[in-house]
Amino acid sequence: VRTWSAGERHPRFAEEEWGKMQTSQFLALPENRAAVAEIVRHVLAQVAPDEIDATAEFLEPLLDVAAADGLLPVDSSDEAGRFGSGLDLMIQVLVPAVSALLANLLATLGQPAVTALREARRDEIRDLIATQASAIFVVIRRTRSRRGRRRSVEIVAAITNAIEAYAGARAERRP
């Protein structure tokens, strides 16, 4: 697995390619995959609690898709014969967004496994998340989810909080 030193930018860190290079490598490690699943469930509980049970079955297949460097756009076309145009599942937004953000954080930190987040300096993690969280909007846009776009600010805030909570940064920041 190719890694980069802290502060080094990925050579293909263009907006449209954001996160794409590292996601498959990142999700190849089981602990990373488990971390994404945990964070996604955490975020889902905040932004769409009703979906936790109904969409749990899609988590693993979506992780498989992300691990194959893919992204499943939300198909909300109002075509005759389909189930319905309103089925815009939040999990289809969260899995690629969280995977890509974590992969990019680790690439920036130069670490392969997500456990490194817990060992990194708290202020460094906070700064990294703060500077790179804006790029989640790109992933949300690429998922073509109307609901994701409408609630993108809320989603980004929830993901940031969940990663901070996962890394333990927020807990230690408290007096």
Partner: protein
Amino acid sequence: VSPEAPLPPAASPQLDPFAFPPETRGRFQMLMLAAVLVAAHVGLTISAWTQDPRMVGNMRRVMEESRQKGPHNLAEVDPAHTAAVSDLNLRFFRQSGRLFLVWLLPPAVMVSLLGAGAALLYRLHPHRVRRRQGTRPLTAERAPRVVAELQLWAARCGISPPPALEWCPGMAQGMAFGLKRRQVLLLHGSPEAIERTWSGGDTSRVIALHELGHIANGDAHEREGARAIWLTLIGLMLLFVAFLPGRGRLAWITSLQCAALLAFVWMTWTGLLRVRETYADWRVASWGMGAPLQRLLRLEEAAGPGRPSRRWSWPWQLHPPLHRRAAVLKDAGALFRVSADLSLLTGIQLGVVAASLPIVAGVLMFLGALPAGLLYLVIMPHIAALPAALKMPLAVTSALILNLGASLLMATLVLLGLSFLVTNTLGLQVQREAIADLAAGRHSRWRYLPLWRPAAIVALGTEIGFLIVPMSMFSPLFPAWPAVPLWLAGFTCLIWLWLIYVRAMARLALGTQARAANPRLPRRLVNLASAAVLTVLFWPAAVARFTLLFTNTGLLGSVFAGHNPRRVFVFVFFITTFVLFGLAVALFTLCAGASLAAVGLSLAKRRSHCPTCSHALRPRLVVGRTCPGCDEPLARWVFLSGEKAAGGAQSCATK
């Protein structure tokens, strides 16, 4: 949940949306018939523009010759000359028959083009969907559990042959498409992903079952059939508009009418698809999977407040919002109500069909009258040779039966067909509403009164239908338009009378059915009686509408020479309308009273029993009542049985 899994008992009896055939089927049929009639109507309009004046001249000459040479009543003709007069009349028939064949050519070409184009589009639509979605077969090797379970569901639900299973990239979506008896169930996601989600929860299964519900309801081929026929008609009408002679007011009005017609068709089609979605949801609930479906449909609520309102785009959307589907799944009562949009769209469909009908009906009447008229001419010389005592009555009777009777019979058959279409849409929904009211214990006789609203909306819709059909004979854009509100008021009253009859008949003939199985025969009898009564009421409405045309043609001016045509028109219209209206009401009272009395008498003689415990019952309205012996519902056919209702009712209970 596998198909064999035990199903929880129902919390409370739910109305079974499938106790009656869905009214959408009749509306789809009406939509497709409207396309054929509009094509024929446009073809006949083209005939009128492109006819050869020499042929019409020839026919007029023969007609004039026939008028000059002899009396019309062949019975008064000397037997020696009867054959000659008959020959002359036969010549006239041949001439007019040839002219009619030439006239029929463009509509025949239009209808043939429409049929061929629609058949081609319909046959090719599975290939179009497969190409666009990039589908591949879903095999038992790659998704064994999914394939086995879906085949089991299809067999359990009586879907034969089972649909072909296919997959395409994506997630959490499904689609049903395909030809009749060659349906395809498409699932989004790789076979491995579908197999994985299948064991992880019920969402994928519910989506697949919803699509299977569409297949069980026969939605896919009706939807695609209607789309194919109207897409072909759009193409033909674009050609028609492009080649309209001149660029004047007529071209503009025709273009606007075409646009309005297509907008109406799109609205009707999308409206039908939206209703069909709720029926497919209920099909899933009737299979015991209502609870997970309800949970899935409730997901949209997670989007929270601030969702932009899309009321303006509602008529154009193919799917209802999920929360609306969830509401209908919670309470099927919405599928049993006569909504304003159903009344309006049925009215418009009726108007479109009726506006395209006169010329087509005229041709049918002519084609019906042709053999009868020829027979009359053939037998007349023989009748003329009979003794005087027999000659006159036989001549008059055969003239009435063969000349007038055949045409009237054809016209009545056309109106009966139209009545059946309306009965299978609005009439069916009124029957459902009557039964739902009984089930809910709403027995008030005042509930007949609000039926004036759907009646008025149907009348208004009919007028809109007349307006949007290009070159319509009944278009209100003619000098007699001030008389249209009067006609509308009369038509509203007639439709109201009919709706009252349908409701009363449904209560009497269906509300007394204490049985578990669906009462198909009584339902068909109710439909037949309703259609027959509507035919009786359609006659005066049609004749009154035709009298409005007299001002257009100037016919009155020529018939009543020396009188003010406008005054004559007003006189004729009012007299015709009031006489016909009175006659219609009298006929209605007679037919409706007789049929209701017949049903009432047959019920009085019948002994009914509880379908559960065979407890003897007094003949009365049983829908919504329970058996005094076993406390079970007497009209079980109206409700979902315990097993079936598990989904819908259980999900509501958990909410």
